[in-house]
Structure formats: C-alpha cells, structure tokens
Subunit: 223 residues, 2 copies
C-alpha cells in the first residue's frame, strides 16, 4: 500500500518535470523522440542509419540510456552525431530528471531532432514520460508476434510502431497479419512501419516520417 | 534517498521470503529453475520442448509470469504440463511473495522440477530472488552479441546461460567468440549451452543438464 502510494508520487513528480521539459523543447523547436524496445531490437542500429541518412538535412543529437558502458553513444558518435550517455546502473528506465540533468551537455536550441534511446526494456520505460513529442516503439520479428497482447503498456504508450528485422521474417514463424490484428486490438490508431536495418528496406518511410514531424514541429510548436 | 531505503527494504523482505521458499523446496526435493530473458528470446518455446522431451521421465510444472494474458500457460498446458499463470499487470518482475501465493495451486511435493518463467525483462527480475536453485538466462543470437556488457546484472545472477536461435546466426552479425569473451569478462564461471529450439540442435545438453541437477537435488538437497 505504502509502496503503491510512493510509486504514484514518483510518477506524478516525473510527469510535472516532463511537462516542463516538453514546454522547453517546444520553445526551442526541437522534435524529441523517445525510442522504446526490448534489448536487441535494433534501436542503436536504426539511429546509426538515421544519423547517416539525415546528416546535412537535419541537426540531430542523441541521449543513450544503458545500465552500463558508453558503447551505444560511441556507435552514434561514429555515425557523426553528438551523443551523450546516461548509465542507469541497475535502473530499468530513464526518467525526466535524468533527461533534465543531462540536457546542459547538449545545445538543444541548435537541434532539429533529439533522439532519446531508452533502456532496453518493454515494461518500465512505458510508465515514464520524458517530455517527448512521440514515443516510438521498435520491435523485431524475431521477438515473436505475440508481444502486443503480452506487453500492452508499451504499445499503448507508443505513437509509432517500427517493426524491424523484416529480412529475418522468412526464417521465423512471425505472422505479420496476426501481429497487425493484435496491435489493432490493443491500440487501433497505432501506425506501423515495416523495416529492415540490414537490407535498408522501408527505412525511407521512417526518414520521411521524421522529416514530416520535424517540419510540423517547427511550423506549429506544441505548448 | 527515501526511495532507495524503501527499495532496500522491499528487497530484504523479498530475500527473507525467498529463503523460506528455498527451504520448503529443499524439503520437498523439487528442483526450481528461474528462467530469465528479454521478451521474445524463446523461453516458452524452450519450456514446451522441454516438457515434451522429459514427459514420463520427470514430473514437471511451470509458473508463467506475464503482464497480461494466459497465452504462455495455455501453451505449456498444451505440452502436457501443469501450468499456473501470474499476471503482474504493470509489474516488471516476479517476486517471492507472488510465488508463495500461487504455490498452493501446485502440488509441489509431487514434482521433480518447477520452472518459473519470469516476466520478459533483462533488468528488474535480476534483483529478485524467488527461492530458485538456479537462475537460467536465455538469450537469442538475434539480440546481438553486446548484451553481457550492457546488461551485466542478469549475467551476474545467472547460473547457466542458454544461447538460443542458433539457426538464425548465419543471417546476423552475432559473433559467438566475441560474445563468449564478453560473458567471461562479466562472469568467468558462467557455463553456456548453445541451442536452437527450431532445429532442436543442442537441446539434448539442456535436457541432460536438467536431469543431472534433478538427480543431485534429490540425493543431496540444499538447505
């Protein structure tokens, strides 16, 4: 009982700070994307490809969330993008306070898009607002088509679903139509892109989605 | 600060109850395996194959942990094994209290092996002892070979590592030697089995591991 109350208190404090961050991001006209997925769905690879494809078009930076290591930030930097790492230790998600603390290391006002790569976890990150414009859920076909029913909170939080590793689908029993049906039962309005970071199939739609949202944010910033 | 204290308190209460469960499992001579992995690594498929292979040799039951649905318990039951489902709602792990509450639904004293399929999550379940004899970490090659350094707590907790989906390795950039090196840096003593639930390659070693541990548990129960 006490635990539940404290949990609610932590969440409401987080939501207040996230609302402040959202106002700040709006004033600065930067599009912020909170990237959620299981470990190993390909978030960092997708960001590498995105950084390379949009270099010269958009000014991009990334916040990398991991329990330990700077590996992901190093990979993103190697793709030519400014990246800062948050190591959460045993912490299973990023929260608004971690984002607020690391923002001074990034010149946010000079950015078009800020990617936040959350800790690989389909459960806890879904409960914490980071002030993002959109939550993007990445899933790979190798994880199985039963995930929407089993992890509904992540699908409910998501504003866009990116289904990755399409190139491996022929070697799995992943049924895209069954998956689509399950997604629709959890959140009928959730749009889905199908991509493969290996073959680059479908990535163009993802880049276009980012460009469209960046343009909309500049023209009509959220408050 | 308060949050940290409460977290420690929750963990120490969990550990006390887990110790009680462990004594109870020892008295009843049942081998208890806590199965940890990311979502979609193949825990349920591995348990289905195991249930079918060991039917007639060992008396098996399973506790299935998921946010929602009875799907996994249904799959395990279809494989001929008694299974009970714990739905955690938004909860990101099983704890000792959930196990203690559901045990009356299983006739534990009549069992040789009890599998506990934890919530798919590489972070939070690693912090909660369930009274198990062994924590088994399942990982699939499609998740990438960088996981030991990025999620060390799960590897540290594990007593056995099962690397799954070997059949998909040729289609990925997963480097088994690099992975083995990274595992050894986190936990040099951690043994690894390599399997594919699809082709059944390597499953025999996993079945033999269970049979050996079951025999040892019967002959020299832990206290």
């Amino acid at each position: 009982m006490t635990e539940i109350k404290i949990q609610k208190n932590v969440l409401s404090k987080n939501d207040e700070l996230a609302a402040e961050l959202r106002r700040d991001f709006a004033r600065k006209g930067v599009l912020v994307l909170n990237m959620l997925s299981s470990p190993g769905s390909g978030k960092t690879t997708l960001l590498e490809k995105t950084a390379r494809a949009l270099a010269g078009k958009l000014r991009i930076a990334a916040i990398e969330g991991d329990l330990q290591t700077e590996r992901d930030a190093d990979r993103i930097r190697a793709a030519g993008v400014r990246a800062v790492q948050i190591n959460t230790g045993r912490g299973c998600h990023l929260d608004a306070n971690m984002i607020a603390n690391i923002l001074p290391k990034l010149e946010v006002a000079e950015l078009d898009v800020l990617f936040i790569e959350n800790v690989g976890n389909l459960v806890c990150p879904a409960a914490f607002d980071l002030g993002e414009d959109f939550a993007v859920l990445l899933m790979s076909v190798t994880e199985g088509d039963d995930k929407p029913a089993k992890y509904p909170t992540a699908f409910l939080k998501a504003d866009l679903l990116v289904l990755n590793k399409l190139d491996l689908q022929p070697y799995t029993n992943f049924d895209i139509e069954r998956f689509r049906g399950d997604v629709a039962r959890v959140k009928p309005s959730l749009p889905m892109l199908q991509v493969s970071c290996t073959t680059e199939q479908g990535l163009e739609s993802w880049f276009q989605w980012i460009e469209r949202k960046t343009k909309a944010k500049r023209e009509r910033p959220r408050r």
